[in-house]
């Protein structure tokens, strides 16, 4: 990264083509840095899980127990919010959780790209959840799935209004799910960059600047810790909301 870029807080989100494959309908099809980091994320997850579980110890080693904790964590989350029947979605939820978690954590490494800071990525994942809920809900419950939009005990006059509100609330799920993750990562990384930029700008003023730069430097350190927490928390929130939505598909009545 060049000197001028180091103070620009938005530059870290730029998408660059690494290899271009040509054009389809005027849109360049390219292997971008975003795609590269998605590959890295998936490769890291696969390597982590394969290597840590290769020992297959009955008494797990430290690394193996890390993988087991990840499994238990997601499995418990799914069982608690969607019941044992929800366990058929375990591969889906586990993949989403691990992908978001690793993508967020990889984004914390300096100079690395944060995949989840682009809304199209989070929106694609949210739509995958949303469509899974709709398709599975109709496949399993038939038109009984529509009971989701009709709360029990509502007087007939209010029913059309309530149903409209419920449908809108349902349709807003993929948006809120994707915006939440994307906004958290984007805001966190920009804040981090802005405070780090203050250090550089202040240090241009000589000795007084160096002294003044201590405050933003300390804040940058604190924010980095906070961002690690947010990285985990957002993966958790994404996964648990996925579980709750899947629960609606399995048990549609309120």
């Amino acid at each position: 990264m060049a000197q001028a870029d180091s103070v620009d807080p938005i530059h870290q989100f730029a998408i660059n083509d690494i290899v271009t494959f040509g054009e389809i309908g005027g849109v360049t099809i390219a292997f971008t840095n975003s795609a590269l980091f998605m590959f890295i994320t998936v490769a890291l997850i696969a390597a982590f899980l394969l290597l840590t579980t290769s020992g297959r110890g009955l008494v797990p080693s430290r690394l193996q127990s890390m993988a087991e904790i990840a499994y238990e964590f997601v499995a418990n989350m799914l069982r608690e919010s969607a019941g044992t029947e929800g366990m058929r979605f375990f591969p889906f939820v586990f993949s989403l959780f691990m992908f978001v978690l690793f993508a967020n954590l990889i984004g914390m490494v300096p100079y690395f790209f944060t995949v989840t800071s682009h809304i199209i990525i989070t929106f694609a994942m949210a739509m995958a959840v949303f469509l899974t809920v709709i398709v599975y809900g109709f496949w399993r419950n038939g038109f009984g799935f529509l009971k989701l939009f009709v709360p029990a005990g509502v007087p007939g006059v209010l029913l059309p209004l309530i149903v409209a509100i419920e449908v809108l609330s349902f349709l807003s799920r993929p948006i809120s799910l994707s915006v939440r993750l994307f906004a958290n990562m984007l805001a966190g990384h920009i804040t981090l960059k802005v405070f780090a930029g203050f250090v550089i700008s202040l240090s241009a003023f000589g000795a007084a600047g160096y002294l003044g730069a201590i405050v933003p430097l300390a804040l940058t350190v604190a924010l980095t810790a906070l961002e690690f927490l947010v990285a985990f928390l957002q993966a958790y929130v994404f996964a648990i909301l996925t579980c709750m939505y899947l629960n609606d598909a399995i048990h549609p009545s309120h």
């Binding site: 209004l161 409209a164 509100i165 419920e166 809108l168 609330s169 349709l171 807003s172 799920r173 948006i175 809120s176 915006v179 939440r180 906004a183 958290n184 805001a187 906070l226 927490l229 947010v230 928390l233 957002q234 929130v237 709750m244």
Partner: protein, 124 residues
Amino acid sequence: MENDRRADGKKPPAAGSGSKADGDLARRLDRLSSSLDAERRERAAAQEPRRSDTRGFSLGIRLASEFVAAIIVGTAIGWGLDALAGTTPWGMIGFLLLGFAAGVVNVMRSAEKMASGESKRDED
């Protein structure tokens, strides 16, 4: 058990040397548990504000996104219907209001869920 220990601690028994040793032990256990309690309370107090700060941040973004998403969806649907049916701007106005209501419903629901999750965690 508690009562025994306290009674022993208050008036050291004059009888056998064995029960005297018991009273001594009970007193020491009492002192240990009370100091442990104090330390635990201190530690909890030290951790409390920091945890709630970060939780508040994520809670805020969570509720805000729930609210905004419903409004965006409502407006988009209204706008699309207007474009299809040529009823500008009534569809957008109506669905914007519906989106508002749905946003409030979303926020109330997730706040309720959060509150119940919190109390469950506290009970554990």
